[in-house]
Symmetry: C2
Subunit: 327 residues, 2 copies
């Protein structure tokens, strides 16, 4: 079964089926499926790369689904085709992806110009992210020119999403109290833009949040050179439910794309992401092979205990383990 | 030559010589030295672990040396013995460690109760950090009960220092202008305490900096549970040159130690550090062996180009490389 012609073929029912089959193929753990998937991906690759890859993260309740529904319909009205993928490592535990539940995006999920795919529901974060990254390539080859990759703040999933998208957006709520809700360690550093949702509920709180976040981003050194050629992360106010600020959000996203394209960062970021991704997968493979090595498995339990108890220096234990694999 | 008795022996000239020789031994890259060093470290290990491991970071000019000199003399006056180690990966390039220059700490460097050792001047950050971590164990076995590990903000050196110390302190300056100087990405997350130095020069600016940093730490979720059993990172004002705030700093450090010991985090952090360190060294070894594998070396240049140019999916390239090492 050659999925290639239908994936790159005209939009419609055959294409949708081919995309779904292609993604199922690349999510398969069977070796012959993997070989087929690699072949398909390599064939599709020349047709990929033309989309705006938009990463969106935020805690549950921040309004991601509502925002993506409203933004998606807005973009479709502008003539775009929109794919929505999700990374939810917790779905491995729950056995099904809450995030990927299509009923969350009622209109977008049934729109012919939209394609929504829930999170792969098994595997490590690295494996889940790999499949999502590959699903993104399939959607691009099928002509979706905006791919939204959504994640909830679980584990390192934001890092994975920021590592596969052109622009990473962190959604926040304006807190009702004096303090902003805390942002997860390290996530602020990833954000190209912070979108403060539900800003219409308490305009003053939203503006205070905007100031606080801008000041924190400044303190954290997230602002690059002071010139017009470089993007400075910003905090925008919007209300997804009220449909306010969507046009402003997309205008900012387009300005980001213009600047990054002009100064070369757009392409450079994608290259770095591809190479980083390759090394990430190599590292994961090396670690897996290492942990499955019989000699390592024989030595490891005792060494872990000895290191934790302070009986053997960590560096000595590491050398012992390495010489088990490479005698 | 068995260095063990002199290292754990009484303080004095023989011990100093033994410490220096031990550290030189473990910095050696010769295989037989490495075996001797591992043997020595394992013998010393039961005598280690009783010190307060204090990490200090900050950009050049923030006043780290002055602070360490003043703090070190203060601690010696309280009856402590103080070792100062540095991690300066840039010394690999400059051929000598600026940080380790003993003339920076005039009184401390000649004090019989102090031991100062510059950064190892060759190797990767991982290698330099490993040697510093091991030097710390040697100093502990020799009875130094405060070990200060200092670094300048180069590359990932802060992460390395935070990963080998009980308390990580980030030194900052109160900025003369409206904005604080930017903090390096990800470093704020590591800080157990921020020390704002030179606070006597402009008290108002220092207080504003204190507020801004506290607010940013809150926003970043660096504060744990709201109870008395958990440490909340704080920003302290001090003037190392004026000798102001040193007692307050040490009181905070001791309070940190009391809380962390009582709630079990002190020991848990050390165990995690040892295990993380073991895995970090294993990973480094696996990567090195991988990159030296002839088949990998043969494939890699072309694959890197193909991935960067978008001709081969990153995940496919990773699988190709892995099957070169594990056919």
């Amino acid at each position: 079964m050659n999925l290639y012609p239908d994936v790159i073929g005209p939009p419609g029912a055959s294409q949708r089926r081919a995309i779904a089959k292609a993604i199922t193929l690349l999510e398969s753990t069977r070796a012959e499926h993997r070989a087929q998937a690699d072949e398909l991906l390599t064939a599709l690759l020349p047709h990929t790369g033309q989309s705006f890859r938009l990463g969106i993260s935020g805690v549950p309740g921040v309004g991601k689904s509502t925002f993506i529904e409203v933004l998606g319909l807005y973009l479709i009205a502008l003539g775009h085709r929109v794919a929505v993928l999700t990374i939810d490592p917790s779905s491995t535990v729950s056995g099904g992806s809450i995030l990927g539940d299509k009923t969350r995006m009622e209109q977008l999920s049934v729109h012919p110009q939209a394609y929504i795919r829930p999170s792969p529901s098994s595997g490590t974060l690295g494996g889940v992210a790999e499949k999502t990254r590959e699903a993104m390539l399939v959607c691009e080859a099928a002509g979706y020119d905006v791919v939204i990759v959504e994640t909830v703040g679980v584990g390192q999933s934001e890092t994975a999403v920021a590592g596969m998208t052109d622009m990473f957006v962190l959604m926040q709520l304006p807190n009702a109290g004096d303090d902003l809700q805390a942002i997860k360690k390290g996530v602020m550093e990833l954000a190209d833009l912070v979108a403060i949702n539900k800003a219409d509920i308490d305009a003053l709180a939203a503006q205070r949040a905007q100031l606080q976040i801008t000041s924190a981003m400044q303190l954290l050194g997230l602002f690059g050179p002071h010139d017009d050629a470089h993007w400075r992360p910003q905090a925008l106010l919007l209300s997804a439910l009220g449909g306010q600020g969507i046009d402003g959000f997309w205008a900012a996203a387009q300005q980001f794309q213009r600047l990054q394209t002009a100064n070369g960062n757009w392409q450079a970021r994608r290259q770095q992401q591809s190479l980083a991704w390759m090394w990430e997968r190599v590292d994961a493979g090396l670690k897996q092979a290492f942990r499955q090595h019989p000699q390592v498995q024989a030595l490891l339990p005792q060494l872990l205990q000895d290191v934790a108890a302070g009986r053997i220096p960590a560096s000595t234990a590491a050398r012992n383990l390495l010489s088990a694999q490479y005698p």
